[in-house]
Amino acid sequence: MKRTGAQAVWESLVREGVDTAFGISGGAVIHLYHALPDYPIHHVLMRHEQGAAHAADGYARATGKVGVCVATSGPGATNLVTGLATAYMDSSPVVAITGQVATPVIGTDAFQEVDITGITLPITKHNYLVTDVEELPLVMKEAFYIARSGRPGPVLVDIAKDVQAAEFDYDYPDEVRLPGYRLPAGDISAQLEAAAEMIESAERPLIVAGHGVVLGAAEDSLLRLVEQTQIPVVTTLLGISAIPETHPLCLGMAGMHGEAYANLALAEADLLIALGSRFDDRLTGPVDGFGAQAKVIHVDIDTVEINKNVLTDLAVVGDLRDVLPQLISAVDERNRDEWLARIRLWREESAQRDIVGQETDELVPQFVMRQIWHATRGEVIMVSDVGQNQMWEAQYFVHHRRRGLLSSGGLGTMGFALPAAIGAQLGLPEQQVWVTAGDGGFQMNIQELATVVQEKLPVKIAIMNNGYLGMVRQWQQLFFEGRYSGTPLLGPDFAKVAEAYGIPGITIREKAQVDAAILQAVETEGPVLIDFRIVQEENVYPMVAPGRPVNEMIRRPMPTGKR
């Protein structure tokens, strides 16, 4: 079959099952866009390439399929960088296709030339520069194979402009040729037996569920393991939704802003079973004090993670999809009443401090998050931005839906939520998708409101507007003498901005108006934006101060009148 390079790209995407791509055109991809209308791929025109990369990432996180983004050479390609780094840190399968200047001028600082494979080397799982059209089919095949297999991640394919225009005999290969790329395949039965023994003899075991459970679609197995062994579970931020937070054995998120009882469980456990978590410092605090009383079993698909941050007593390298069912058949049931009773006491104590249970007329963000949960019964996909709002969402929305929270955990990218939600909504058109963001982060990709409208996406947007770069302000208040340097933030009238784009906008100043606004958003067919003018100097509690162990938390004070 005679094809141009550009046609070969789209045809390969179709063969890989791609039906949606997020991008922005330009000179170095004009051949690609010229060929696009002949293929059954819905192209979503974003307003910034960062948005395209986040949208592809959000699509991937919501669906488990590979997300695709497209950008032109030079500035188009560099605009992808933050999005690719975000996807890389969170192991999200994305394929980015960029145009490059024509091969004869590569290396001459040609117009809009940039060495994007060099730039993205440390933030992609792998990348390719294609200067010969004959290589294109194999490169496309490998790009998808690498992005989705093993520990997923972004792969960038940079294609010279003349390669896109060149004609050749297109033939899509059946197999990849990657002698240096191997997936974990060792026999792990001995490790699993050892793990089972450690689990059976542990008095106070705790599972730490990470993103790997979600990426490995091992949620069912995790639930079975937990119920069979009665081992409580804490999650990382990205491990949220690995197990329903409504489950009595789920203690929710642990770490810097984890629930106090989750962090106390981490500190008191005598066995930590980490499943697909890389022991990020936001979970562990200083690693030397982490899990001081515990032996550690670490299950991960990526052998590099073993002993990287926390030393393990037992390592199991494999995909949780395969490992967990084997582990379940290796361990026996056991009663853990004593351990669970202790945790229950911690939990009750925490409940008394909970601000949501307290009588206040102030518009606090925790209440807003809780009411979004109530109004949606949790049956929605939450896409959170970064900052205090991200932590309030994680704490006060009770996630039980699978892949029900998409958030930038590893890179902590402000501006992630809106474009990622666009990707999620396109991947799952039947689901209700909510964005929760701060007034700062939302302004970082606010331009994508136009994409929401152009694509007719019913995304619901809740802004926690505190007039500050709140998370930084909180640190300044607690650790930097209350000097609010560079954090007070003037925002626009978000409701009016929404209206200007053609999206209904609501401004909420009173606690009493919260429910009605959320209900209106839930029931409106199209998109809605709500600007919640929350208490400005509200903090996220509990908080583990930087450098302190996870069980030393700054707590919200006990309300007067209680205990």
Binding site: L121, I146, L178, G180, R182, V304, N307
Partner: protein, 170 residues
């Protein structure tokens, strides 16, 4: 900190060296030397890396290298019976009065004079780093004008099982 010697085999493709050296920089590994050239297999380059660090760091270096898609195999030969060699070219000040002295020293080290100029000699030495270091030390008083060292290359001696990270013979 201990010195470890790693051998990495990698596909000979554009950018691969960049991937490897970039990895060392961004992971903050302390690399003492790195030397690369063809291997016995077409399309596969062989790199010898000397890295400073404790066992845990070296384990990380090996695994991170192995994770690069273009790297096909990595072994740590530090604890195995191996041949280590380095080549150095040393241009040393040598007026007519000093030449014979230097040539004598050179022959003791089984090194060779490869170029003779009006005021300098260029000496080539191949051997374990310790021998290269000793010769350099002895030549220093004459004044070394230029020095080029290749860094260590390594090969496991025959008659040993191999400890390939993936169980591949090479």
């Amino acid at each position: 900190m201990e010195k470890h010697t790693l051998i990495a085999l990698m596909e000979d493709k554009p950018g691969v060296l960049n991937r490897v050296s970039g990895l060392f920089r961004r992971r903050n590994y302390n690399i003492e030397s790195l030397s690369v050239g063809h291997s016995e297999t077409g399309g596969i380059s062989r790199m010898t890396i000397v890295v400073n660090g404790d066992e845990r760091i070296v384990e990380q270096v090996v695994k991170q290298l192995d994770k690069l898609v273009n790297v096909t195999d990595v072994i740590d030969v530090s604890h195995r019976d191996s041949v280590f060699r380095e080549l150095a070219l040393i241009k040393v000040n040598a007026g007519p009065g000093k030449r014979s002295e230097i040539i004598e020293l050179t022959s003791v080290f089984r090194a060779r004079v490869v170029d003779v100029g009006a005021t300098s000699l260029t000496v080539e030495i191949t051997g374990p780093e310790s021998r290269v270091n000793s010769l350099i030390g002895l030549l220093e008083p004459y004044g070394i004008e230029e020095l080029a060292r290749t860094g260590r290359v390594a090969m496991v001696r025959s008659g040993n099982g191999n400890g390939s990270s993936r169980g591949i013979d090479f």
